[in-house]
């Protein structure tokens, strides 16, 4: 019961989602849309678990006064402040532009997101420096291809025309072929994984007792 029922649900729901793709009837379309809606509702319920887990972890650190517990307090304050200002005006009001809720999002989350994102410019340079060593044939190919592409933004005089030709060639031939082969492999692998899940061959994720 504890394992059979969940596996049966996986197989049943999976089978329905599989065949509905081939059935354009309105009834099936509606059921499919419900299934998507329901997943969202489940996500909303699950969020309570998530918040409990996060709060619990942070509270434990504060209680135990473990290293850096003050920062855990910062996280808790941020979390509950957001929930408070989000709930108090009520009914979508707080999601409108200009509320405190949106201001906090706009001036705390967005700039940090942009800053984290732009760290990538530094990281891409240091990754290139450390990883692009001509140690093996494969590493050499990787590094040469990357350098040719990067050189398109560097003035090279008459050599630029040659480089541009190479760039176009790489992008339209080997790059294209690599993508196609990659996707073909992913398509087959993903299908095999989905089949294993639906047939109940792979079920370690569903508990044991």
């Amino acid at each position: 019961m504890r394992r059979t029922l969940p596996i049966a649900v996986v197989a049943g729901v999976g089978f329905f989602m599989l065949i509905q793709y081939f059935i354009p009837r309105e009834e099936f379309e509606t059921l499919y849309e419900w299934a998507l809606d329901w997943t969202m509702v489940i996500g909303a319920f699950a969020m309570a678990l998530g918040l409990y887990s996060l709060t619990n972890m942070m509270l434990n650190k504060v209680k135990r006064k473990s290293e850096g517990w003050g920062f855990s307090l910062v996280a808790l304050v941020g979390l509950f402040l957001m929930i408070f200002v989000g709930l108090v005006p009520h009914y979508q009001e707080s999601l409108r532009y200009g509320t405190l809720f949106m201001d906090i999002f706009e001036y705390i989350y967005i700039p940090i997101q942009a800053a984290m994102f732009s760290l990538l410019a530094f990281y891409i340079a240091s990754a290139a420096y450390r990883a692009f060593r001509a140690r093996t044939v494969l590493a050499t190919i990787l590094l040469v291809s990357a350098i040719i592409i990067m050189l398109r933004l560097v003035p090279l005089g008459p050599l630029s025309a040659v480089n541009q030709w190479l760039v176009n060639f790489i992008l339209t031939v080997p790059n294209m072929a690599a993508k196609r082969a990659f996707w073909l492999g992913v398509g087959l692998g993903a299908t095999a994984t989905a089949l294993k899940i639906m047939l109940g061959i792979e079920r370690g994720y569903m508990g044991r007792d």
């Binding site: 909303a44 999601l95 690599a178």
Partner: protein, 209 residues
């Protein structure tokens, strides 16, 4: 900029600098920004789920008499069984619903978009008489060899091994190109952040003096 905006932007600029300080090493400023953004974003996401999923996809339909929305309600409530160690297993059918629908949707979509469409797009006319025909031939050879690389149940030896080697070379050229192409976008993000900081401090100075 008004005073409120100046202060908010000051918070934003401070947080951006906190994140950048991570480049030197982990430090209290980064820890502060990190914990703050974890808390704030979790709270934000919880509220988004509440207003965009919980209310419109569960409560409103139920109040409107669409009784079948009880089903996601029950599935969601079962998730809360996880709060108890003893009844945790009750949440498994719900997890099965989510995973099963994911697996079922994936099978036709992956086979369609990643396999059949890619095969169809690679069926190109080939020849030796013009450059486009030659590049088509190259693309097909490269896709073919890259696929041999992904073979699991055959030893990479002899002609098969040679094809697989050429295949992984193709993949590496593609990955190198991907790396090289991404640098531009990441640098643009960094430049944009630098301009934000520059403009803010210019604004701040003119407001102060």
């Amino acid at each position: 900029m008004g005073t409120a905006e100046l202060i908010w932007n000051g918070v934003a600029a401070f947080l951006v600098l906190c994140i950048y300080s991570f480049l030197y090493k982990d430090n209290p400023f980064y820890k502060f920004a990190e914990h703050l953004v974890v808390g704030v974003s979790a709270g934000y996401f919880a509220m988004i789920l509440y207003y965009n999923a919980f209310l419109p996809k569960l409560i409103h339909p139920l109040l409107a008499g669409q009784w079948w929305y009880i089903i996601p309600g029950i599935l969601g409530l079962l998730m809360w069984a996880r709060f108890s160690r003893k009844y945790q297993w009750l949440s498994r059918p719900t997890l099965g619903f989510v995973i099963g629908s994911g697996a079922g949707v994936a099978i036709p979509l992956y086979l369609q978009n990643y396999v059949i469409r890619q095969v169809h797009a690679t069926m190109l006319p080939v020849g030796f008489t013009s450059w486009p025909l030659i590049t088509n031939l190259l693309i097909i050879i490269m896709v073919f060899c890259s696929l041999t690389y992904f073979y699991f149940s055959k030893q990479h030896k002899g002609a098969f091994g040679a094809a697989a080697t050429f295949g992984i070379w193709t993949l590496m050229i593609g990955f190198g190109a991907g790396f090289g192409m991404t640098v531009m976008g990441r640098v643009a993000l960094l430049a944009e952040r630098v301009v934000f900081l520059r403009d803010y401090f210019a604004e701040l100075l003119s407001a102060l003096f």
